[in-house]
Amino acid sequence: MKALGIDVGSLTTKVVMLDGDGSPTVRITPSGDEPQSSAREALEAVLGQPELNLDHEFCVVSTGMGGKMLPFPHQNKAVTTCLARGVHHLFPSARTAIDIGAESCNVIRVSDRGRINDWVSHDKCAAGTGVFLQKMAKVMHMPLEAMANPSLPAASGPEISSTCAVFAESEVISHVHRDPPTPKEQIIAGIYASVVSRIMILCKRLGIERDVIVVGGVALNGGFVKILEREIGFEVLVPETPQMAAALGAAVIARETLAKGAGR
């Protein structure tokens, strides 16, 4: 019996399969224009099937912004519910999860049972999300991977707007093109500080309880995590594959469903 979790995000689709012993198999693919096809391909790759065949041996739980569009899941769950389960599976000591995806940012309070106690989201503006950092890397004329280098950000940087992605972009452009230009390391520090200040507003609304775990694609950005830790005041936990936390949580829920005998 296999439990599958699938998280259809705006940029990538993540599939996690939990075997009987609980070890995960992960597949991450671009969501593309047709999330259904991407999800099907990702599932086929994880299952090693040339043609998707979800028989009674499987239970599939979907989540993410495109999760409801898929025809094959057994059930669909909110991303916050899945994140709580996923981070608890990864780090049972985690009580606060900061999830920064491509187009959203959630801060979640997690119970000692991996249940969601409360959450707050920022979904009205790209400021404070992954696509904002992508955009900034483009303006800085450097690959995002290079900008993510933890040793790159300076100790401090210029103030960059945290309320509007468009204003922030204009500000960064003016720093890049002024004479002399603001040092790159300082601009990057300013960009990260802008995202972090947005996240800290959410954290303060909810209250931060240790341990804090950072998940979502932006957690792969070491430079950003460094500035976040500086602002929070202590080290945060970052899993090896932080972008699959919600899919993992969905797989955990699928496994629970199978255990109850309610799967396919």
Binding site: A78, I116, N117, D118, R205
Partner: protein, 422 residues
């Protein structure tokens, strides 16, 4: 007097929509009699308003929480400005043109949309021009400012009723003095004299009305709750439009009888009640039907609204009618949000949470309403302390561009999952 040739498109839309609602209610096997009464008296209210110019009646427009009892006692035709805008949003499904007209007057997009839409509606001639404009600072500081603008737009005289923040004897006397000043103003403007005997009757009916509100609240404590989620909006409208009016009694008595019957039979408002909710502030009017559907789908029902349906203690004395009108303004549920928040407000939230056995609370944080949004964190902390989760939804009561149906669905479903998982 109102120029009879002026356009009253939006009021006509409300009246037409009420007839449709009555027809739909009659066609439905589960249609509540109280709902039919509600739409009938709502239609009558707006018909009176529409016909006022032809009948030579004097129209007094007033903002929310204004003591309309006085207007009824003087035989004037009241027009509740905020409810009129709400109804336009609810029944026409949009009020974008009115909001745009308000913006064209120079009102910033951050300004309270019922007031911006209202200014636009008056400027566009979409609702009747009143003979006088009456406004107050009770509950809403925005109203204190917008009333003056509405008076200017309408080119009519107006009166600002200054309501004190506190409740000492001196302040109550001051409020009675303000009411006397307003009556003098209205007598001068309308040429009609205050009928004090009629005001005493209105106060007597209002006292009965408050008792019925309390009875209905008691019935909503039952598990399962007998009243549908968005039903509380009916209660609000009844209080806002028909204070001390016999038609309000007809509605409330019908509703109370129906709810008592349902409680006796153990019938809930939703087929399978799973989540009992507390609601703060007003949900988006343009999503009322959708929210009711969500309520049915998920077995989630709003059972209490501490700042809208939970009346304060006290009785009104028809022997002292004007003092009673002043007294009522200190008993309305909304007054707990007025001025500095005191222990009463905090206590009422905890009391309601316990008495109504709620599982969670939903705060409809109207982005244009500064003073209610300022309480989001405070109320959330209070409820979290007694282990009640709170969902805050940034939205607007009439402007659909702030929150879409899909966003609302996503947030509510997340919240219901949270409640289910506990």
């Amino acid at each position: 007097m109102i120029d009879a040739t002026e356009r009253v498109d939006k009021v006509d839309s409300i009246i037409r929509a009420c007839s449709v609602m009555i027809r739909m209610n009659k066609a439905s096997p589960d249609g509540r009699e109280s709902e039919r009464v509600y739409y009938r008296i709502l239609s009558d209210y707006f018909t009176r308003l529409r016909n006022a110019p032809d009948e030579g009646k004097f129209v007094a427009a007033h903002t929310a929480f204004f003591p309309a009892e006085v207007l009824y006692a003087m035989g004037l035709v009241p027009m509740h400005t905020e409810v009129t805008t709400w109804m336009i949003s609810l029944f026409t499904g949009e009020c974008a043109d009115l909001l745009s007209a308000g913006t064209a007057l120079g009102l910033a997009s951050e300004i309270c949309t019922p007031h911006r839409g209202l200014a636009g509606a008056f400027a566009a001639g979409s609702i009747p021009r009143p003979d006088v404009m009456l406004w107050s600072n009770l509950i809403c500081d925005n109203t204190a400012k917008s009333g003056e603008l509405l008076m200017d737009i309408n080119g009519c005289p107006g009166f600002f009723l200054d309501h004190p923040f506190q409740q000492s004897e001196a302040e109550r006397r001051y409020l009675v003095g303000e009411l006397e000043g307003m009556i003098r103003f209205l007598e001068e403007q309308s040429g009609r004299k205050m009928d004090w005997d009629r005001l005493a009757e209105v106060v007597s009916v209002m006292d009965r009305q408050i008792e019925l509100f309390r009875d209905i609240c008691e019935l909503r404590k039952a598990v399962p709750s007998p009243f549908q989620t968005q039903g509380f909006l009916e209660l609000l409208t009844i209080d806002y439009l028909f204070p001390g009016q016999p038609e309000a009694i007809t509605y409330l008595e019908t509703l109370r009888r129906e709810l008592a019957d349902r409680v006796e039979k153990g019938q809930g408002a939703v087929p399978n009640e799973r989540f009992r909710l507390m609601s703060f502030f007003v949900p988006p009017m343009y999503l009322i039907g959708f929210l009711e559907k969500m309520s049915q789908e998920h077995g989630a029902v709003s059972v209490t609204e501490p700042f809208f349906t939970y009346w304060g203690e006290g009785r009104l004395d028809p022997g002292r009618p004007l003092e009673s009108v002043a007294q009522k303004s200190y008993m309305i549920p909304e007054v707990r949000m007025y001025g500095p928040l005191d222990d009463r407000a905090v206590r009422s939230i905890v009391d309601c949470a316990e008495q109504y056995r709620i599982d969670g609370a939903v705060y409809y944080a109207d982005v244009g309403c500064r003073h209610t949004c300022a309480t989001v964190k405070l109320f959330k902390d209070i409820l979290n302390e007694i282990d009640v989760p709170v969902l805050t939804i940034d939205c607007d009561v009439v402007d659909p561009t702030i929150t879409s149906e899909e966003e609302m669905r996503e947030k509510l479903e997340q919240f219901f999952e949270l409640l289910e998982d506990r």
